[in-house]
C-alpha cells in the first residue's frame, strides 16, 4: 500500500514538473517560431517610420529606462535595507511601519502605479509623458523588490563576521561596508535581476507615464517607449503582429543576457 502511495506521489510530482516545463517551452517555442521569421535588419534601423516599425528606438529606450531606474532605486533601496537590518533596534515601531509599507507597495497592481505616476510626476510636477516620469514611477515600483531581497541578503550574512569585525575594533560603518555588504552582493544581485525583469516587462505603468513615442529620447523630458510598450502598441494596431513577435524574441534575448551577466558578477563576488 505504502509503495503504491509512494509511486503515485512520485509520478504526480514528475507530471506537474513536466507540465510546468512544457508550458514554458511552448511559450518560448511559440514566440521563436512566430518571431524569428520577422526578425529583419530593417527592424534595427534607428528611425521608426509607419512603413518600417523599427524596434531600435524602443530597445535603446528600454536600456535607458533600466539603467536610470536602477540608478535611482538601488541606492535608495540598499541604504534603506542597511538601515533596517543593521541600525535599527528590534521591535521599533517605525521599522514595522516601513516593512508593512514595502509589503503593501509590492502588492499594488502596476496600473495603479501608472495612474499615480501620471498624476504625480506627469501632471503635478509637470513632466508630462516623459522618460523621467516613467523612471520615477518604475523606481517606486521596484523599490519593495530591492528592499526585501537586500534585507534578506543582509540578514543571511553570518553574525560571526560582524562579531569578528567589531572584535578587531572596527566601527559599525566599516563592518557594514567592508564585510557585511560585500558578502551580501550575490543576494542583492538576485533582487536586481528581479527588478530588471519588472522594468523590462512593465507596460501598463509606462503607457501612462512615459508615453508611447517611438523615438530615442534625447532628454529626460522626452516621451519614450520600451520594448514591452512597443509590443503592446504593435499588437493593438493589428497590422504588425509579426513584428510584435520579433520584438518578443529580442526581449527574451535581453532577459537572457541580463541574467547571465548577473550570474557572472555574482560568481566573481563569491569566489573572491
Amino acid at each position: 500500500m505504502r509503495k503504491i502511495i509512494d509511486t503515485t506521489l512520485f509520478a504526480l510530482t514528475w507530471i506537474f514538473a513536466a507540465i510546468t516545463l512544457l508550458v514554458l517551452l511552448f511559450i518560448v517555442a511559440h514566440i521563436v517560431i512566430n518571431g524569428v521569421p520577422h526578425l529583419d535588419a530593417r527592424l534595427f534601423e534607428f528611425a521608426f517610420t509607419t512603413e518600417n516599425v523599427s524596434m531600435m528606438p524602443a530597445l535603446v529606450s528600454t536600456i535607458f529606462m533600466v539603467v536610470l531606474t536602477l540608478l535611482i532605486a538601488l541606492p535608495l533601496g540598499i541604504f534603506t535595507s542597511i538601515y533596517l537590518v543593521e541600525y535599527v533596534k528590534k521591535g521599533n515601531k517605525f521599522v514595522m511601519l516601513i516593512r508593512s509599507a514595502t509589503e503593501m507597495l509590492a502588492g499594488i497592481p502596476s496600473i495603479v502605479y501608472g495612474l499615480f505616476g501620471m498624476l504625480m510626476f506627469g501632471q503635478f510636477f509637470g513632466f508630462g509623458w516623459s522618460l523621467i516620469a516613467g523612471v520615477l514611477t518604475l523606481g517606486i515600483m521596484i523599490l519593495p523588490v530591492i528592499i526585501r531581497t537586500t534585507e534578506e541578503a543582509l540578514k543571511s550574512v553570518s553574525d560571526g563576521y560582524r562579531e569578528g569585525g567589531y572584535a578587531l575594533g572596527a566601527g559599525k560603518l566599516r563592518v557594514v561596508f567592508r564585510i557585511v555588504l560585500p558578502s551580501a552582493v550575490p543576494g542583492i544581485l538576485a533582487g536586481v535581476i528581479l527588478a530588471i525583469g519588472r522594468i523590462i516587462g512593465e507596460s501598463a505603468a509606462l503607457i501612462f507615464t512615459a508615453g508611447t513615442m517611438p523615438q530615442i529620447p534625447e532628454t529626460l523630458g522626452h516621451s519614450a517607449r520600451t520594448l514591452s510598450v512597443h509590443m503592446w502598441v504593435l499588437s493593438s494596431e493589428a497590422h504588425h503582429t509579426g513584428e510584435a513577435y520579433a520584438t518578443a524574441v529580442v526581449l527574451l534575448l535581453l532577459i537572457l543576457v541580463v541574467n547571465t551577466a548577473a550570474a557572472v558578477v555574482a560568481k566573481f563576488f563569491i569566489t573572491k
Binding site: K89, A167, L168, G169
Partner: protein, 282 residues
C-alpha cells in the same frame, strides 16, 4: 607606546634597555581586575557579583582558563573585557572592570581602541569572506595603515606568529574560506595579532577543531603567552590543565573558585569544584 617599542627594536644596547623598559611597563598595564561585576540580560541575572569579596585579578603574561558547565556565564564574562556585550540589547553591566589603570566601562573609554587592545578569537572560526591577506590586513587598515610595505610586513609577522605562514605564503591572495578549520582558526588568531593587542580573549577556540589542530593551537597559545595576556574559555578540562596557569570555575553566574590551575585540579577547596573537575557532573 607599542610603536615606540618597535621603532627601537633594532638598536644599540641603550635602546634595547629602553625597549625592555617599554616591555615591562606594557606588561604592567595589561592585567585585568574585576570588582563586583554584575551582568543582566533584561531580568536575567547572568553574572552575580564576580570579585565581590576581593577583586579578581587576571595576571599579565599568564594563561587564565574559565571552566564550568554550559550556561554558567563564562562566555558572557569573557565578553565583558572587550565590551562585546554592548552589542546585545538590554544587557546591563555594573561594577568596575579595570584593564591596567583604565576603567573600561568609564564613559570616556574609546570602545574601538579597547577592542584593538583586547583581541578576541571565537568558538567558530570566522574568517571574513575575502583573501587571506585582506583578512590579516583588516585591523591595521582600520587603524589607518595604508602603505603596502608596512601591511606586507604586518601580514607576514602575524601569520608567522600564528604558525600559519609556511602553509599559506603562496596563496595569500586566495580566499580565506578555502582553508581547513584549523587553519582558519589560526588565521583568526593571526588576524587578532595584526591589531597588536595586549590581551587575547579566546572563547572555546578549539571546540570546533580536530585533536591535531587543537594540539597546534595549544602549542601556539603556550608560545603567545610570552608576549600576551591570554584568557581562554574551555569546555575541555584537560585543555585547561595543559595550557593554563590559573583557572576559574564558574557555576550559575558565579565564580566558585579561582586559583592556580594545579590547585584547582588536584586540591580544590570547594566541594562543587571537586565534583566538577572529577567529572561527577557537568
Amino acid at each position: 607606546m607599542r610603536q615606540k617599542c618597535e621603532k627601537s627594536k633594532k638598536g644599540t644596547r641603550a635602546t634595547n634597555f629602553i625597549r625592555n623598559l617599554c616591555v615591562q611597563r606594557m606588561a604592567k598595564t595589561v592585567n585585568i581586575s574585576i570588582n563586583n561585576c554584575n551582568l543582566y540580560y533584561g531580568d536575567f541575572h547572568a553574572l552575580k557579583g564576580i570579585g565581590n569579596d576581593m577583586p579578581m585579578e587576571i595576571g599579565a603574561n599568564k594563561v587564565t582558563a574559565f571552566i564550568g558547565p554550559s550556561g554558567c556565564g563564562k562566555s558572557t564574562f569573557i565578553r565583558v573585557f572587550n565590551r562585546m556585550n554592548d552589542l546585545i540589547q538590554n544587557c546591563k553591566i555594573t561594577g568596575e572592570i579595570k584593564i591596567g589603570e583604565q576603567d573600561i566601562y568609564d564613559k570616556n573609554t574609546d570602545v574601538t581602541l579597547l577592542r584593538k587592545n583586547v583581541g578576541m578569537v571565537f568558538q567558530k572560526p570566522n574568517p571574513f569572506p575575502m583573501s587571506i591577506y585582506d583578512n590579516i590586513a583588516f585591523a591595521p587598515r582600520t587603524y589607518g595603515v595604508k602603505k603596502k610595505a608596512r601591511l606586507d610586513e604586518i601580514v607576514e609577522r602575524s601569520l608567522k606568529q600564528a604558525a600559519l605562514w609556511d602553509e599559506v605564503r603562496d596563496r595569500l591572495k586566495k580566499s580565506a574560506l578555502g582553508l581547513s578549520g584549523g587553519q582558519q582558526q589560526r588565521l583568526c588568531i593571526a588576524r587578532t595579532l595584526a591589531a597588536e593587542p595586549k590581551i587575547i580573549l579566546m572563547d572555546e577556540p578549539t571546540s570546533a577543531l580536530d585533536p591535531i589542530s587543537t594540539g597546534t593551537i595549544e602549542d601556539l597559545i603556550r608560545e603567545l603567552k610570552k608576549t600576551y595576556t591570554i584568557v581562554i574559555v574551555t569546555h575541555n578540562m584537560q585543555q585547561a590543565t595543559r595550557i593554563s596557569d590559573k583557572t576559574a570555575f564558574f557555576l550559575m553566574g558565579e565564580v566558585v573558585e579561582y586559583d592556580k590551575t594545579r590547585q584547582i585540579f588536584s586540591n580544590p577547596k570547594d566541594k562543587r569544584t571537586e565534583n566538577y573537575v572529577t567529572g561527577r557532573f557537568g
